[in-house]
Symmetry: C2
């Protein structure tokens, strides 16, 4: 499972990890029923404490994407998160798009980038 940590990112590490795993699930690289690697292994790979990864797993369990079992491991339990309200969902997207616009990208280029990313998310018959 290939995930990375960005030192320059201001989000806490456990949330970066959670978001990366969420991305893997979103694009189908992790499917329902699959086991996640043990927290110690991920922690060793990334050079952080095992509790940091455990926090990421708990975060995802709280969102309903994982089932973490004491003594066994963690399983992907869903390919979807429970429905959220529309305004809430848009907020993050709006901020990201504003960021791209402020960087000076023309609208057409942003559309192109969005389509590329969406193709990654919807490539299979999901």
């Amino acid at each position: 499972m290939y995930i990375t940590i960005d030192e320059t990112d201001r989000r806490p590490v456990y949330r970066q990890v959670a978001d990366e795993i969420k991305g893997l699930i979103a694009r189908g690289e992790l499917c329902e029923g699959m086991a996640l690697p043990p927290v110690r292994q991920v922690a060793a790979d990334l050079g952080v404490n095992l509790n940091t990864i455990a926090a990421a797993y708990r975060e995802l369990q709280k969102e309903g994407l994982l089932k973490v079992r004491h003594g066994s491991g963690a399983l992907v339990t869903a390919g979807r998160v429970s429905q959220q309200n529309d305004a809430e969902l848009r907020k993050g997207l709006r901020a990201s798009l504003a960021h791209l616009a402020l960087a000076g990208l023309p609208r057409a280029e942003i559309v192109e980038i969005v389509n590329e990313e969406l193709s990654q998310l919807y490539k299979t018959g999901r």
Copy 2:
């Protein structure tokens, strides 16, 4: 200047404020040369300490969007941020789109939302 704080948002308040102002600049509601309201006024409107707003202004100054002048006020100095690398720019967008996909939205609907938001950002002859 209409901005709001979301108690449920996990980002710190000063960053929420910074991001909202960034959005206002991105969609042209704040233009180069315009003055921002004093930190005390924004702080009073939002019910937070003035230093919290000052931190937001400093954040934006660091990104090159504002010029904060001790004793006078803060001015918008640019409608663009300095160029960043492409991968860095995509990261936030990718996460947002993954979130929408995990919420179960069909691809077409996401494209529609993106276009709506982009229309807000590019509505004038910018």
